[in-house]
Symmetry: C2
Subunit: 558 residues, 2 copies
């Protein structure tokens, strides 16, 4: 039970949640849409917006980001029309999946008017994102707005930022319009999206039973419903990629220190043992690349010195018989076998790309995923979660099941001594070193040039050991978290849908581990039917450009 405190002295968590939700609801009301949802909703609500919204709205919000940019930058659409359409569609998305912490209609319309005025004066767009509405995960600071970061207590006690987070400033300068702020879970360390302050974000494809994924779950649900075509998420263990996969969209966890994080938290960039990265989530691959191109071009390393001054580089994929494109497949990680839909969709994807000329597909041997989890989970909460527990105690909010699980039930999470912390930091670097040698050995050592030749170009693997999870069951992080430990860029893309008629539950008797058995018991072909299945493509450190180029090549061919 939360400690009882005088409401006057310190608001209880329920009162804060009530206040925060009222603020959110008022921001929705300010959009001024009169859309009514049907009284009876299906489980899968992904198409509801197309039923309830106006034709004009649907026409605009169904455009690809590239089409939007084209029409905006030649004046055939105004920024005001576009942002109003996405605000309205976001209202609908909120009602169906609870994906928002607030909308920003005043700010968005004000900026849209500025952009339209600029355009009518000059006939040129202000930048490459002129008029594009973008959504932002709520712990990424927006000037003068509350910064709860998933905790009730912080809604009031965290000072409101005086300016936008640096990445938001860059996108805004390029012409983007922030119209929506999206949900995130308690502690931010869930691969689902439930908090005491805003409740549970659900999956548009199954809005009762299944999670949007997390922690950037609000972005996942909002973008899947086209309440936004591009959003900013964050990822330290899978938080961009898991909701992207669960909701059938694209998400990139870039290599660290390419996208500025100034303004997302009180920890200065570079001080954490596992770096939380910001990255794009969106409706297609092109918009992720556009995001990266614009953000990197801002050369923020002069204001955020932890960033690496690496420009966004052109990479072309043009395999030949002499130099084929080599893809390494991780089918399962030897700890937990993915559910049938994930296995099948991966197999189908591999079958398709295997047929392409000059594309070689090989099995990528798994390298110690159990050890990877031991290391990374030891470095997530070096204080054993004390600071988080204290913040929750401030408002009296209870630990939600997945917070309880990660902080209290995970064997890796404990309060470290200095020498234990240093031990795990060395283990981290050893693992990175070993993994890089492991990857090199997919090729051959060339003594003449002193380098490894013909190594695998990218890894293709599952994102999660299943599709979107039933609430409070997302407990196996390693398929995504291993790439955070290694700081490899990882991109989630939609690759198929679950099908109860094909993806039957076979009768396994032998399991890879206790975790494998636990995961297997979660599989239910009926519940997961028709859910999106995502896959991951992984590159080596700083090969963000390369994995985007490879996936673009593959998507164009298959």
């Amino acid at each position: 039970m939360p400690p009882s405190k005088s409401a006057k002295q310190k608001p209880q968590w329920k009162e804060i949640a009530h206040e925060a939700q009222a603020l959110r609801d008022q921001s929705l009301a300010d959009v001024g849409t009169t859309v009514q949802l049907p009284l009876q909703l299906p489980t899968n609500v992904i198409n509801i917006p197309e039923i309830v919204l106006s034709e004009a709205n649907i026409r605009i919000t169904s455009l690809s980001p590239q089409q939007l940019m084209d029409l905006l930058s030649n004046g055939r659409l105004s920024a005001q029309e576009v942002v109003q359409a996405f605000l309205e569609r976001a209202v609908t998305a909120q009602k169906l999946t609870n994906c928002l912490t607030e909308l920003l209609p005043q700010r968005a319309i004000f900026r849209a008017v500025e952009l339209d005025n600029h355009f009518s004066r000059s006939s040129v767009p202000v930048g490459p994102l002129h008029g594009l509405p973008i959504s932002v995960k709520s712990h990424i600071g927006i000037a003068h707005r509350p910064l709860a970061s998933g905790y009730c207590a912080l809604f009031h006690s965290h000072a409101r930022p005086v300016s936008d987070a640096l990445v938001v400033q860059i996108l805004t300068r390029a012409g983007a319009i922030v119209h929506a702020r999206t949900t995130e879970p308690q502690s931010m360390m869930q691969l689902e999206c439930a908090s005491n302050i805003y409740g549970v974000t659900t999956n548009p494809y199954s809005n009762i039973d299944l999670s949007s994924g997390g922690s950037s779950g609000g972005e996942g649900a909002l973008i899947a419903m086209r309440g936004s075509v591009l959003g900013i998420g964050s990822d330290v263990g899978g938080s961009i990629r898991v909701p992207a996969a669960a909701c059938g969209i694209y998400g990139l966890k870039p290599t660290s220190f390419r996208v500025p994080t100034t303004g997302w938290s009180s920890t200065p960039p570079g001080a954490d043992p596992i770096v939380t990265v910001l990255g794009p989530m969106g409706v297609n691959l092109e918009v992720l690349e556009l995001f990266m191109r614009v953000v990197v071009a801002a050369e923020s390393w002069k204001v955020e010195p932890a960033l690496i001054p690496l420009p966004w580089r052109a990479v072309s994929i043009d395999p030949t018989a002499e130099k084929p494109l080599r893809l390494g497949i991780i089918w399962q990680d030897e700890v937990v076998q993915p559910h049938p839909p994930v296995q099948r969709v991966l197999r189908e994807f591999v079958d398709k790309v295997s047929g392409l000329s000059h594309v070689e597909v090989v099995d990528f041997p798994v390298y110690k995923h159990d050890e990877a989890w031991a290391i990374v989970s030891s470095l997530y909460f070096t204080d054993g979660g004390d600071a988080d527990i204290a913040v929750m105690a401030q408002s009296g909010e209870p630990l939600l099941p997945l917070t309880e699980w990660i902080i209290k039930e995970n064997p890796g999470v404990k309060k470290l001594s200095r020498s234990e912390l240093e031990y795990w930091l060395e283990e981290r670097e050893e693992f990175r070193l070993e993994y890089s040698q492991h990857w090199n050995k997919t090729g051959r050592w060339d003594e003449a040039s002193g380098s490894w030749e013909n190594t695998v170009d990218a890894i293709i693997c599952p994102v999660t050991p299943g599709v979107a999870t039933r609430h409070n069951t997302a407990k196996y992080w390693t398929y995504t978290a291993v790439w955070n430990l290694l700081d490899y860029p990882a991109l989630t893309f939609p690759a198929g849908r679950a099908d109860k008629n094909i993806d039957v539950r076979d009768n396994r008797k032998r399991f890879l581990s206790g975790l494998d058995k636990e995961n297997w018991q979660l599989y239910n072909p009926e519940v997961f039917h028709d859910m999106p299945v995502g896959l991951q493509i992984i590159g080596r450190r700083f090969e963000d450009e390369k994995i985007i180029a490879i996936l673009k090549f593959l998507e164009n061919k298959i």
Copy 2:
């Protein structure tokens, strides 16, 4: 007193030192030179090699690295002649300054023969360093050789490496020949160069009273005496730059994670809170740049994943009236005022460059150098020095004065708790952030482009608060260590000589601090007369190319 142990069970430190020195002396004898030193030596021995060595030797060892490379790569000099000449000159340097832990005549001659054979077969050099002898600070591993790292106990107990350190492999592949291994101090954390295993390395310009500087003091002395023209040093607080300045040569501390460190220590790259970097020391600027170009071109990031995949970039300095070259001068750091020779040489340098067209010189305001030292010294020995003390206890070797000082007398050095360590890591990042804003404010914010324009291009400042120190007095590190904390590239270059007739000791009554007074009391115009004075040029993170280009520009003009 060291604990008494049976010599049979574990060799005492004196026995180890005796053995190590015998190995060194044998390696010198194997060079087969019969050079005799004069019975009476002057204090300044820098010119002794030119008196005692053969004309042929002097002709070769006096060539610039570029001249050597030209003659070697067109076959007018053989690698064997060159390496034999440098081996002999290194023997002389050792006798005068005690700068070596061993020579490697067998290995060097064997490799020279290989190179000569290759050249006589193909008439092309094996690479851009074909036949160039290089020296290596001893803690950087050489295959099958002892790795004492400044401690007697490690001479035996540290496993001999099975292969060369990665940076040595790269240089060797490019044609370089490792001929000499150089001294380093106990604990490696001295800005002088004294160990119980090899004794004290002295300064060629004053071989009784003054230190070579440290910790890469063997490189400093050997290169100043032209027993080598290029060497590899290491730097975590000034260890490349201080001996380079003290001995009148060039030294570059690159930005971290550009030069591979694999094979220098048991700590994997990336795990330390303040990164020890390897970098070049040499007789001129061009050879430092050649080193960087060759090392970076090896693209070692695929085998050492902590490295940044940043190519070596061409930077041209071509200032105009619209875009002048802007140099910021730090005259003194508001904690310790440099001795008169340093003040004067800096002033003279500034006067000269101020006269160049399109070069602007401004004062660079000091930013919290006292705080910088508090942070960096707290992160050097997070265990309070326990591990080092244990290694010394193993052989019973006593703590030398500067080891005692840094570990036991320095207020910053103490055993940290995990939360204290995390506190200092955050302070480190905060300081980096603040300093980068501080640098930005030397220019002006341009709202249109969203960037800082016309900021200072580089800082010029002292290397140390004096010239080479009297033994056991190098206790003020901040002029160099602040750039390690910031991870800014810093290059030391020779800029003048002390002159007792000009650089008189004025009668200061007011001091900036107790440390300032202490430093002032060390000044003695007679003792320091004619010693080299170095200066530092500093760039922002990853601007290694830029500071080299700026210094090249300035040296060509003045």
